[in-house]
């Protein structure tokens, strides 16, 4: 039997926040326009990262990133805390340098390479990456 919960706000039992709320991976939500339902967990970003490779190599802020690996000019590997289910996840990125491309993925990480206006591998002040797909 399916069930439906009508609610305006979701918080944890203590009522102080949402950090302890767990949502099952088959749950769905009603769309913004009200005419469709989609899987809630599929829509969640599984990882994001704001990192710098220029003057310093640093993780400015991130979610589900345990460490960064520096493998040369413009190159950065983001290692996940919780791994993905496969290496076919979708992981768009953007860089403050001219452009960036995805160098590779595995269940435990994603690698990007940023390039300058001369299209040479080059460190950048800001890079942004998101990961969408299935967690293991």
């Amino acid at each position: 039997m399916t069930s439906q919960l009508n609610v305006d706000t979701i918080v944890d039992k203590a009522g102080s926040g949402g950090t302890n709320v767990k949502i099952g991976n088959t749950s769905t939500y009603v769309s913004d326009g009200g005419s469709a339902t989609q899987n809630t967990v599929q829509g969640l970003g599984k990882s994001w990262c704001n990192y710098e490779t220029a003057s310093t190599f640093v993780n400015n802020d991130s979610f589900n990133v345990s460490s960064l690996g520096d493998f040369g000019a413009g190159s950065c590997t983001m290692n996940f805390t919780n791994n993905m289910n496969n290496d076919d996840f979708s992981s768009p990125a953007i860089s403050s340098d001219t452009h960036i491309f995805q160098g590779g993925t595995s269940t435990s990480n994603v690698s990007n390479v940023s390039r300058n206006t001369n299209h040479a591998d080059s460190d950048a002040a800001r890079n942004h990456n998101t990961v969408h797909g299935d967690l293991a």
Partner: protein
């Protein structure tokens, strides 16, 4: 004591498609539906679908140009998306020609020439 609520569908009371969740900092609320990616897509250099959510099909329109159609459409042409080329070399990818039912990606090389490449994209905005 921890509690567990088992439910299949989350629906707003005031508005069906609007549920607030408390932010990580505990000082604000943010809209659950607005914060969810409405689609993501990893596709090969011929638009064949590798791993997707809410993507019904991919079409290869010619060198470096692809169209991806949604399963559940967006409510406006103003959805926001990002794209990256998946390749071991210099390729750039754009997210363009956004419509309620589909969007395009264009990939090109360092010389600005359209070039086939795999792509990753995501889409944020309002579902219909």
């Amino acid at each position: 004591m921890a509690s567990q609520l088992k439910v299949d569908t989350l629906t707003g009371v005031t508005t069906a498609g609007s549920i607030d969740v408390t932010g990580e900092g505990n000082s604000t609320t943010t809209n659950l539906q607005q914060g969810l990616a409405k689609a993501f897509c990893r596709a090969a250099n011929d638009a064949s679908l590798t791993n997707t959510f809410n993507i019904a099909s991919g079409t290869d329109n010619g060198t470096g140009n692809y169209t991806y159609a949604f399963t559940n459409n967006m409510s406006t042409n103003g959805s926001s998306g990002t794209a990256v080329a998946v390749t071991n070399g210099a390729r750039m990818s754009t997210y363009s020609n956004v419509q309620t039912s589909q969007y395009d990606t264009d990939t090109h090389n360092d010389s600005g020439t359209d070039t086939d490449a795999g792509t990753c994209t995501n889409t944020f905005g309002d579902l219909a």
